[in-house]
């Protein structure tokens, strides 16, 4: 079995054409987190694929769950951060676009991890239940969450001033907080009439000590990864906004001075 490639190509190679001040979104802190993430992901691959034993009932398919639980954890945290940052933005209006950028960066990460969650979940479901999809309340509202935050990202891309974008998307993010529990509840009611046992009951696993530890490794590694991605993405968004503010003239002037040098 090949060990998967380390996920974070975080190197400190200095970019050649750097103006005064740092040439990347990295700092000593993020580099440390990046290193820890790589180690954590490597450990996850080793524990998840080799060291952790196969489950009595689920055999090897339990290995997918380490990824699945890790990604769904990050996705939920990311969407919670989006909601909280949006609330913070609306609370102290006009003061800080930083909250808005945190919300946006977090939602992007959340959408990616939600996609991975759905993928790993359906592959695992195929192995355990023989089907890729079940109409369970949790599974279905997860899919709704995925679509909702894709919509949120689309709202962010609508254009207008930074403050307009921030206000619009903050409201949408807070409405999503209203929507998701309602969808979950109504799907639960809907399924309740058809089947008694939910997925949660059938997936109950008595965790072996090593399996529990592998799960722990996964949660730590994915949490570190989330922090790393969030910080870098937030900085990229901040620079993008700054560049938009300076406008085209500034970009042209930069280009010209590069040509002179």
């Amino acid at each position: 079995m090949p060990t998967p490639k380390s996920p974070t190509p975080e190197t400190s190679t200095p970019a050649s054409a750097a103006p005064a001040g740092g040439a990347s979104t990295g700092t000593a802190f993020t580099r440390a987190i990046g290193l820890a993430t790589i180690i954590g992901m490597g450990a996850l691959a080793v524990f998840g694929l080799f060291i952790s034993p196969a489950d009595v009932r689920q055999s090897d398919s339990v290995r997918i769950l380490y990824i699945h639980v890790g990604t769904v954890w990050v996705a939920y945290v990311a969407f919670a951060v989006t909601a909280l940052s949006s609330a913070a933005y609306l609370w102290k209006r006009t003061t800080s676009l930083t909250w808005d950028r945190f919300a946006g960066a977090s939602a992007e990460i959340g959408v990616l991890f939600m996609a991975l969650t759905l993928l790993a979940g359906s592959l695992w479901g195929r192995l355990s239940w023989g089907k890729f999809w079940v109409w369970d309340a949790r599974v279905t509202s997860t899919a709704f969450m995925f679509i909702t935050y894709i919509g949120y990202l689309a709202v962010r891309g609508l254009g207008g001033s930074h403050q307009q974008r921030a206000r619009r998307s903050a409201v949408v993010a807070l409405l999503a907080v209203l929507e998701i529990p309602l969808v979950h509840f109504s799907v639960k009611l809907w399924r309740g009439l058809h089947q008694d046992s939910s997925v949660a009951d059938r997936t109950h696993v008595t965790l072996h000590g090593l399996m529990l530890f592998s799960l722990f490794v996964a949660l730590v590694a994915f949490s570190l990864l989330y922090v790393w991605l969030l910080m870098h993405r937030q900085r990229v968004l901040a620079m993008q906004d700054a560049l938009d503010d300076k406008g085209l003239d500034y970009a042209l002037q930069q280009r010209r001075s590069e040509g002179d040098a």
Binding site: A17, P19, G21, I109, H232
Partner: protein, 44 residues
């Protein structure tokens, strides 16, 4: 050996897409950082 294929696919796709996202963010950050003065980069 459906199990093995599914397990490997999960790990590879997860690590692969996360690495791709990280690479994109870093590259975009480098490109933007090269165009902006230090005062727009408060983390430095």
């Amino acid at each position: 050996m459906e199990d093995l294929g599914f397990i490997l696919a999960t790990y590879l796709i997860t690590f692969g897409s996360v690495a791709t996202m990280a690479a994109f963010i870093v590259r975009r950050g480098r490109r933007l950082a090269a165009q902006l003065p230090a005062e727009d980069k408060p983390w430095i």
